[in-house]
Symmetry: C2
Subunit: 337 residues, 2 copies
């Protein structure tokens, strides 16, 4: 029996003009919605993950305590649970899955919250990486609904450098002839393994590798780490799903919508939510320098840098206990304020 719920969206007109037909938004909830419906936390998923990857931060005693809050984890389009190339029926399957933006994701999540649950206020939207980018969008698209946001290891707008890093990931995956322009019958595993090696250079930091932290994690060698932690992780995904999520990420821009017309300064300025922004000190593609620039444009935000050698991975829920604790402590403080 699945551990999740499905919200049927039917046909969704996307920002791109395409229609996502038979669309479904998969989500899981933790805890109970109280009578006043004021204990809602939205915790969207990150790249290449599904809701269960967030669960190490949803525990009694932690900030996201299901005994206190009603925590809703919506799955990102493209992740294989919510609508994705791998689960969408023809004719919009595989290479024809349309481009889906963060704007589209957030609007569908909004429908879920309002239509299914009658929620009008959100105590907190928080998340890691692509989940962080969704948090910024929630804050800017629904400024009167969202009381707090806590994005970590993510930006309001995908930087050009981050875009280029993802070009490399995509190019490695699609160099495999077995990919067949997205019309494969079997997964292009050589390409997925190649993109895993590309990704492995970006995910952790220089210091992570310098200090051989992968050995402390139980991997027997650097090669074992690359195969087991990276190739195995991405081999579990569908190639077109990976590309769909990367497409959303690359075009990520909180201001690219009818509200802000591409004016990121205006979009960030419109976020009323009280915010704590947590970049990792050693993140190579969501560097803290980018977060500093964005925080300066937000009226009610504070920058708190995760003092980690884990690079981007610092933000992976439960990945590194010290970093998870840092994030959790700040979430508690934000929720108490």
């Amino acid at each position: 029996m699945p551990d999740y719920q499905v919200f049927v969206l039917d046909n969704v007109t996307l920002q791109s003009g395409f229609t996502l037909r038979s669309a479904r938004l998969v989500y899981k909830t933790y805890g109970s919605l109280n009578a006043r419906k004021d204990n809602v936390i939205v915790f969207p998923t990150f790249f290449g993950s599904q809701h269960e990857a967030n669960e190490p931060m949803i525990l009694p005693g932690m900030a996201l305590d299901p005994g206190k809050y009603f925590i809703l984890v919506p799955n990102l389009f493209g992740n294989g649970l919510s609508s994705a190339p791998s689960n969408t029926p023809p004719p919009y399957d595989q290479a024809r899955f349309p481009p889906v933006s963060y704007y589209d994701n957030i609007h569908c999540q909004y429908r879920l919250l309002t239509e299914r649950f009658g929620i009008e206020r959100i105590a907190l939207v928080c998340g890691f990486s692509m989940g962080a980018q969704q948090s910024f969008h929630w804050g800017a698209l629904f400024p009167d609904m969202v009381e707090r946001i806590a994005p970590w290891c993510g930006s309001a707008k995908t930087s050009r450098h981050n875009f280029v890093f993802l070009e490399g990931v995509k190019a490695a995956l699609t160099a495999d002839q077995a990919w067949q322009d997205g019309w494969y019958q079997a997964q292009p595993t050589k390409g997925i393994r190649a993109m895993s090696r590309v990704y492995a250079g970006w995910g952790p930091s220089q210091a992570f590798y310098r200090e051989k932290i992968y050995l402390q994690l139980g991997f027997s060698s650097l090669e074992d780490y690359l195969v087991q932690a990276w190739e195995d992780r991405f081999l579990k995904l569908d190639a077109n799903d990976i590309l769909a999520m990367i497409g959303t990420w690359q075009q990520g821009d909180t201001s690219d919508n009818p509200l802000y017309h591409g004016d990121i300064h205006q979009a960030l300025g419109a976020i009323k939510a009280k915010a704590i922004i947590m970049p990792s000190q050693t993140d190579q593609y969501f560097p803290s320098a980018d977060s500093e620039i964005e925080v300066r444009q937000m009226p009610n935000a504070e920058l708190r840098i995760i003092p980690s050698k884990w690079g981007h991975l610092a933000g992976g829920p439960g990945r590194n206990p010290a970093d998870t604790q840092f994030i959790d402590k700040n979430l508690k403080e934000l929720l108490a304020s």
Copy 2:
């Protein structure tokens, strides 16, 4: 008429145990060797380049002034001028080109200097990136011969993170079926284009992309920069040559030889040359933190960080005038000392 000379090495027994047959070392000289043979500068080439790429730093009035010095630029094995998969006759051609180490390169360069020119002292060995790595090797392998070294944007030992970055580059290239395990009849251009996109994320820095410096350089867009500056650059190379050079780079370790038996502390401590080490402030794969660690182990070395937003590219000779000038100024100071 070629602008270079060929030093025929015949059969070279490599550190790997393989024999590089019909080996040739291609070099170019600038200026004249004086009577005392004490005006020698060795300036080895970097990844994916040939001697002419060094020429923007070999000019009258610059530190490497051909009016004063005899400047010798040896081409790296694998670069297509010196022995490489693309120019080695069967049976050691293409996928059978043997692994060549920096130790092998430096020993062959030593033979060139001593056997052809009777050189016993070197005023300076300097270089960028893989040229920097060769400079460290020269200093450690011939400590009584080398008076000064100036490696910039390079390390004495390839870090694990740097190794992983190169795993991504290799994986992207070799994901192309046209590569055929190295036995291609035509270049695997899709794979070369893929590795170019991977590389493009690493070469410059986050700040380079954030400030859109590529537009100031005359590229019309980010995409134009990726195609013209990166794909076009690597499409000029042979795929197996690229892999041969990466192999040398990945195994780079100044101490991995019969003198130092893998003890990098001992190897760095043995360098008698006066040294100025110049990492770029924003280099993503030869980060200044690595150089700091290495400099601390060298008895006669000083760290001077290139204050640049160009990432690794800061060190490319003539690439960015301000950074080239910074390096040149330090070379002058080192040569005058």
